[in-house]
């Protein structure tokens, strides 16, 4: 065998479109060799599961997870996806990959051998590396536990249905689902102090007050009437106890709703946990796909260079790859926003170019990485430490902006015209880049809605505040319905106000 290894030209791993387990295994080993030894990727162990198109549809409807609790809304998306698929409006994905340990990677039986190879390079190594290394995934998701947790959730909800009836459970789930987007923690919650620590802190404060005490203070006239001060104090105390303002509405309702039973709270918790698990995916879509595309492109080319795949296979791959990373222009009928695969892949390739083959412009814009000849390490650093917003802000080069011919359009809905704000020229690079990054920012992706006040001593009404970004109110019909759902979970009156953060004025109020 040693003699065979010396040759750069190896035997093709497979020929033709047919695949079997032996071939898949061989390809996987070959890919792994390149991914681990040459690129130095760091991945979870992989579990490849072969499924049929029907099972792929099943997986679609349970948000891509191998198991999920039962709810009619999953059936609804199944019916919709199925109809779309059967009528030929949309194809199916070639793979689904799950951020778990081991990393589960579904591949479809209909795929050709080349597709299976591509899919393994893309998902089992590209996405897998990203899941394991990106800081957001590390911080917010637990790949080791997710499958067990989903199993627990499924069983728990099934048990609740048995005990309290499907209707009751459905009600809670409906309401919780309506608040899914508002059920994620965006920063870590303050650790609760235990009783001893609280007592200790109180003592310290008393001690401090004593040490600062001076008879003179007593002689100062009181500024506020004692009554209002006391009420203020009570309110502040309460707000602090409840942790207001709170942007995780599901968390707040789970902990503080006066009307929910324990099982209902647990269901809110389940929905919240699942939402939290998916939260990083939304913020890293561009990078995640970019990373996976870069990895599969690199690996497929290496396989081809070493003669491990045939020219025919390479052609099939290139045909597919070009279609995936195509970016239609804004005026094309196929345009539906920026394709995360296209921009992601282009940015990764661009970084590689800057590292290996920089122009003067690149040296000026990226003095840290230009010409360092360590493309893959540079990329791995980026994959680890950024999310879409910061990644674009950091790495989008003028070269790429020109290539994509990016321009920024300002849309003020009160005016009859859009205005072209800046384009891909010297004056515009920074503005376009900032505007594009802002599109991927949390502020733009997520609405800022918080519980701001709860009247626990009076009529128990709850006031929510929506801090508007760019003067955008909420879609009224939907908002009214969601408010009705919040009311169901809270049990008492709920009001939601859209507030302009600049003037603090209430622009719009929603109620059920």
């Amino acid at each position: 065998m040693a003699a065979g290894k010396k040759k750069t030209e190896m035997k093709p791993l497979y020929e033709g479109a047919k695949w079997d387990y032996g071939l898949v295994d061989d390809s996987f080993q070959a890919i792994q060799k390149i991914a681990i030894e040459e690129m130095g990727l760091d991945v979870y162990p992989t579990q490849i599961e072969v499924i049929t198109s029907e099972q792929m549809l099943d997986a679609y409807s349970s948000v891509g997870m191998p198991l999920m609790y039962n709810h009619w809304s999953f059936g609804k998306s199944f019916v919709r996806d199925e109809a779309r698929y059967r009528k030929g409006y949309s194809g199916l994905a070639y793979e689904i990959v799950i951020n778990s340990n081991p990393c589960i990677c579904y591949i479809m039986e209909e795929n050709s051998m080349t597709m299976q190879t591509l899919v393994m390079a893309h998902a089992a190594f590209g996405h897998n590396h990203f899941f394991k290394n990106n800081h957001l995934f590390k911080q917010w998701t637990d790949a080791n536990a997710i499958l067990d947790y989903l199993q627990f959730a499924k069983n728990y909800i099934a048990k609740c249905e048995e005990r309290y009836g499907q209707k009751e459970v459905e009600k809670i789930l409906d309401s919780a689902h309506a608040l899914r987007d508002q059920g994620v923690d965006k920063f870590t919650r303050r650790q609760k102090l235990d009783v001893a620590a609280l007592r200790q802190r109180e003592l310290e404060r008393e001690e401090y007050e004593r040490s600062q005490y001076s008879e003179l203070w007593r002689t100062l006239p009181e500024t506020k009437s004692k009554d209002s001060q006391e009420i203020d104090l009570i309110e502040r105390d309460l707000a602090q106890k409840l942790g207001l303002p709170e942007s995780n509405l599901l968390y707040f309702l789970e902990k503080h709703s006066p009307v929910l039973d324990n099982w209902q709270r647990e269901i809110l918790r389940i929905v919240r946990s699942v939402a939290q698990y998916f939260y990083p995916q939304r913020q890293t879509k561009l990078m995640n796909e970019g990373c996976a595309c870069f990895v599969h492109y690199h690996i497929m080319n290496r396989l081809y260079d070493t003669g491990q795949i045939t020219e025919g296979a390479m052609l099939e791959f290139i045909d597919f790859h070009t279609r995936v990373v195509a970016q239609p222009d804004f005026d094309s009928p196929h345009f539906s926003g920026i394709n995360p695969y296209a921009l992601g892949f282009a940015m990764m390739k661009d970084i590689e170019r800057i590292c290996e083959n920089p122009t003067d412009e690149d040296r000026e814009w990226f003095p840290d990485i230009a010409g360092n000849n360590r493309a893959i390490d540079t990329l791995k650093e980026a994959w680890k430490n950024f999310r879409d917003e910061s990644f674009i802000l950091q790495y989008l080069s003028p070269h790429l902006m020109r290539e994509f011919r990016l321009f920024n359009l300002t849309d003020d809905t009160t005016k009859p015209h859009f205005i072209v704000d800046s384009i891909h020229n010297n004056r515009g690079y920074k503005a376009v880049r900032a505007a594009l990054a802002a599109q991927y920012s949390v502020a733009n992706l997520d609405l800022d809605i918080q519980v701001s006040k709860v009247d626990l001593h009076g009529n128990r009404s709850m006031v929510l505040i929506h801090n508007m970004t760019n003067g955008m109110t909420l879609e009224e019909k939907q908002a009214d319905m969601v408010v009705a759902h919040i009311k169901r979970l809270w049990g008492y009156d709920v009001t939601l106000n859209s507030v302009d953060p600049k003037s603090d004025k209430i622009t719009k109020t929603y109620s059920e």
């Binding site: 099972q55 999953f74 059936g75 804004f330 300002t410 609405l447 955008m472 969601v482």
Partner: protein, 439 residues
């Protein structure tokens, strides 16, 4: 490091229970929509699919969403052609708010409002979901099986008349391409070259050699053309049909209506709706339903649909005349041993007092024994109904018929005062668990 698992044999239909839940939830809404649709329908447009829109309350998954029509936003887009900073672009007409504009559908239900078209059959299935033919008169239902052909994909063998040309040629083309069958053009080109070479009077050695190779090539290509035929038996596909058995049952429905002066337009409209629904229901059960219209004053006659509903007659009211005509029509055209006979009678309850006994006699002696089902609907307009709210105040005809009802299971009497009542009444008549109710 890697496991590979074959999940293909796992039980299918993991989403089955979720799908069932969704359909259950949707069904209520579809049913409501169907009921609404039928209420507002004309007799003439019962054919063709009905667009049913599920109102989204119960199937909606609301979320907080930003209102796309408010505020300002930046949008970075690729593919700039000739825009310069500061250019103004006219806002495209409302639908293309850039984001695709599908968030809000016409009535602002949001993107969740599902719309799908039910076929006529699905529509009627849902509509008549919990209704069935009364099965207490099980006599000589004539059932013969008819065979019908249905398309069933393609097959390799078949009769020449079923040859599927398109598919056959497609296969042939694919095979010829794959096996590199030489084209006419290639051969022509070769032959031209050869003739050109042959024409040369003094060919050089090189040309001679060339000629030999060309001849060989031509020979080879010609041979290949023989081996790879233009159309091979392999390519041939036939459209396939299978025979499906269909039960052939037929029914006749008699519509009897009082058209005397006391029947106003409102009464007739109500009666018409009732007849229409009954007709629809019967067409669900039988492959062929004949309808016979009989109208009567003090005289009765068989008429066509148009006259039945729209022309006016004056005169007294003698119900038995209509029953006699029905009897005659049955005798002439619809032998009871071959036909399922249904009758629906609509009247405002007026009748010549002396005639009631007559009616009773014809019905019990002659008609009811041969009818599958006989329904009598008394139409009152709502004013009348308000004036005589209690059941004690009934018409003579009603009294008579009510007596018959008590002794005959296949006879039913109902009262209808407004359009909304019609479906429930029909529903009562044919409710699936009617039998247990009677018992």
């Amino acid at each position: 490091m890697m496991h590979i698992i074959d999940r293909r044999l796992n039980p299918k239909g993991k989403s089955l229970s979720n799908r069932q839940r969704f359909i259950d939830r949707a069904k209520k809404q579809i049913k409501r929509a169907v009921d609404d649709a039928i209420k507002n329908r004309k007799i003439s447009n019962t054919d063709g699919g009905e667009r049913i829109k599920i109102p989204s309350d119960g199937l909606n998954e609301p979320r907080f969403m930003g209102d796309n029509k408010k505020g300002t936003r930046d949008r970075v887009m690729p593919g700039n052609k000739d825009f310069m900073p500061g250019d103004k672009i006219k806002r495209p007409p409302s639908q293309g708010q850039g984001q695709g504009g599908r968030e809000a559908s016409e009535d602002g239900e949001g993107e969740d409002s599902f719309q799908f078209t039910l076929t006529r059959d699905e529509f009627l299935d849902i509509f008549f979901e919990d209704m069935a033919l009364p099965d207490f008169v099980k006599k000589s239902i004539k059932e013969e099986v008819v065979h019908e052909f249905q398309r069933a994909g393609y097959k390799r063998q078949g009769s020449p008349s079923n040859l599927n040309l398109k598919l056959t040629m497609k296969n042939s083309l694919a095979r010829r391409l794959c096996l590199h069958r030489p084209r006419d053009k290639e051969i022509e080109l070769l032959e031209n070259k050869i003739t050109a070479l042959r024409k040369k009077k003094k060919p050089t050695i090189k040309q001679q050699k060339n000629l030999v190779t060309l001849l060989e090539e031509l020979e080879q290509k010609k041979r290949k053309r023989k081996v790879v035929p233009y159309i091979d038996p392999l390519d041939v596909r036939f459209t396939s049909f299978t025979e499906v058995e269909k039960p052939n049952t037929h029914a006749v429905m008699f519509c009897l209506m009082d058209v005397s002066g006391s029947m106003g337009e409102i009464h007739k409209e109500l009666a018409k709706r009732f007849f229409m629904l009954l007709h629809l229901f019967l067409t669900r059960q039988y492959s062929k339903v004949d309808v016979v219209f009989i109208r009567h004053t003090h005289l009765a006659s068989e008429v066509d649909e148009e006259t039945f509903f729209h022309s006016r007659e004056t005169g007294g009211t003698i119900v038995s005349t209509a029953l006699e005509i029905m009897q005659k029509v049955i005798k002439d055209r619809y032998p009871p041993e071959d036909w399922n006979i249904y009758a629906a009678q609509a009247s405002d309850g007026d009748n010549l007092n002396s005639d009631n006994a007559n009616c009773q006699q014809i019905l019990t002696q002659e008609l009811l024994p041969i009818c599958q089902y006989f329904a009598y609907v008394e139409v009152w307009d709502s004013h009348e109904a308000e004036m005589f709210p209690d059941d004690s105040n009934v018409t003579r005809l009603w009294q008579t018929y009510d007596e018959i009802r008590q002794t005959h299971q296949n006879f039913a009497v109902k009262k209808v005062t407004k359009a909304e009542d019609i479906f429930p009444v029909l529903h009562d008549l044919f409710a699936k668990d009617k039998k247990s109710e009677v018992a």
